[in-house]
Symmetry: C2
Subunit: 357 residues, 2 copies
């Protein structure tokens, strides 16, 4: 990249008066012990003096390792991902890896195309945040021997390692919180069921609600097609249109919750006075919105960091196929202002609002 030709192994070798293979070995920690330590010192000095920087392309060509890992996310613009990506990069950079980011926009076809492009570049491994519960392409990749890890989401196939958060515990804490406030009529806006977070959170809801004396009724459940605000709005409208009684809405993630709150507001209902709304993820800024969102905090940066560490392990022990690991990180309930005790006449309020339209 610099104008002036970069120093090569050969330059260093000539400057010291040894063969390039000697320089190569002296500069590589793994093989350094083969060389007389005095020569190693000289080589190190000369290399520094000449400003030697190994040529990545030549290294890759010879070894078929690029020291690049691909990071696949639905959309970097979705603010849940940047902290995760940052975690991945922080971890990988420490090991001398660079990361190439691609956006799939949620589609599995585009995901396949992007992964194809990464494979063409010869990435050493893949961190996938866009994965669906069932994703043949990724399974294939893994069985073919490509180091892969999924982050924040996981596949049903336990063969693919993952780092996720404790969805069950998050849902439990949230429902417990709502129940403690006195809510008995709780609706849920479930996320995309083809994605592990959506499915697991919903499953947890179905299992835990009864334990708290809240019997889930199909009329109280609506499934969102996407994890975003407009989908949240649509679902909330659907719920209101059904005319069911409820004092709280449990949303599968923050963006759905934000949309739900907007929809409520448009109907003249205020959160949390009329209905409480909860999120999941604690993404950036949800503490500043109106009302500040009660949600479940996941360790976004750490999820990414740990995933990268695991991938790194996988990449170096390429020979011995390791047991796939699934790491589940703990979560926290963070109570803000989108939840409150139910209004005394909650059901009436909702009905009135609905009839008003």
């Amino acid at each position: 990249m610099l104008k002036r030709r970069r120093a090569t192994l050969k330059d260093v070798a000539e400057s010291v008066g040894v063969h390039v293979s000697t320089v190569s070995r002296a500069l590589n920690p793994e093989t350094r012990h083969l060389i007389t330590s005095d020569i190693v010192r000289k080589i190190a000095a000369a290399s520094r003096a000449l400003g030697y920087i190994p040529n990545t392309a030549a290294y890759s060509l010879r070894t078929t390792r690029t020291k690049i890992v691909g990071v696949v996310v639905p959309d970097i613009t979705n603010s849940i991902f940047p902290p995760i990506i940052r975690g991945v990069e922080d971890a990988l950079m420490e090991h001398g890896y660079a990361t190439v980011l691609v956006n799939t926009d949620g589609g599995m076809e585009r995901e396949a195309a992007m992964i194809e492009a990464l494979a063409a570049r010869g990435v050493d491994g893949l961190v996938i945040a866009s994965v669906h519960r069932d994703d043949g392409r990724i399974r294939d990749l893994a069985t073919q021997g490509t180091p892969v890890i999924t982050v924040n989401r996981r596949m049903d196939d336990p063969t693919i390692p993952s780092v996720t958060s404790d969805e069950e515990d998050g849902v439990r804490r949230m429902l417990t919180h709502l129940a403690a406030l006195g809510h008995r009529h709780i609706c849920t806006i479930a996320g995309d069921q083809t994605i592990s977070t959506g499915q697991r959170r919903h499953e947890a809801f179905m299992q835990i609600a009864p334990e708290l004396g809240i019997e889930p009724d199909p009329a109280n459940i609506v499934f969102a097609s996407d994890f975003n605000e407009s989908s949240g709005e649509r679902c909330m409208e659907e719920l209101l249109a059904r005319g069911v009684e409820f004092t709280a809405v449990h949303c599968s993630n923050d963006r759905l919750a934000i949309g739900a709150i907007s929809a409520l507001r448009r109907r003249g209902l205020v959160c949390p006075t009329d209905v409480s709304v909860t999120g999941f993820n604690d993404m950036p800024m949800v503490d500043r919105i109106d009302p500040p969102l009660t949600t479940i905090r996941i360790q976004q940066h750490k999820v990414g960091y740990v995933a990268a560490e695991l991938l790194y392990e996988q990449m170096r022990e390429l020979s011995s196929r390791p047991v796939p690991q699934h790491i589940v990180l703990p979560v926290d309930l963070v109570v803000r202002s989108s939840t409150a005790p139910p209004p005394a006449i909650a059901s009436k309020t909702v009905r009135r609002a609905v009839n008003r339209t």
Copy 2:
């Protein structure tokens, strides 16, 4: 990356019965015309049949071009950047480039280190969103012949091409808006003056305010050390502590504005009833915060996209050093709820609040 050895040029050549150089030429659009079109067809077919994918490392080694560009941002976690990055990636991907992202965390030393790492990887060019007005390292890079472009910010040195937004016009529109609402006592929280956005917005403020009959008083001006919420809070507190009269605060960006609003709230003042606050950038979610922020919308995705296009031009016409371009994209005023007419007794309100502490 795949288990099964990938097909090489040689494989294709053997399969067709020609020399590898012929295959190379046939597959390259630039040299395709040298080969009999019938053979080209055969080669294309064989290449497809064998699933030939060019080996990037070999290509890079031979040509010293990596088809990778480095993207340097302060922190991907700062939500102003993801849309910009996305724009860069969308544009570059169309031309077959991959992007590797690095975070500088604002420090120029770390920026230098990161750029060093990218250079070592042999990136073909650099998109820099972290640039300071004066940045020797980047000037050097450019004069050494590395294609570089700065995005969202620019250097004082007109030699380095850039894509930015029309800061002056943004400030003008905002001040005009405030003036129209009736504000005469306007404070400003200026951003980091070593960064072009901070400096230009402030300069614009100083120039335009008088035109609107608002004489800037040093007592109404405070400089933020960082473009973030806590810095905004500190500045707002400083302003309040000074006891000056004001009914509106013009902030250099959204995050400062958000911090300012928090600080006001902590003093028992409400925005916009007591004081109007304005931002700049229209970053994601500022329409959902409390109160929804009146700000200047910049074309985040487009800024990135255009910058990438320009960089691409630079990279292909590497021979003829092009005239450095500076593209300035138009902005829009978006009025939401953080601005309102000044309270009749505005100055008293502020003074009371201040004395209360």
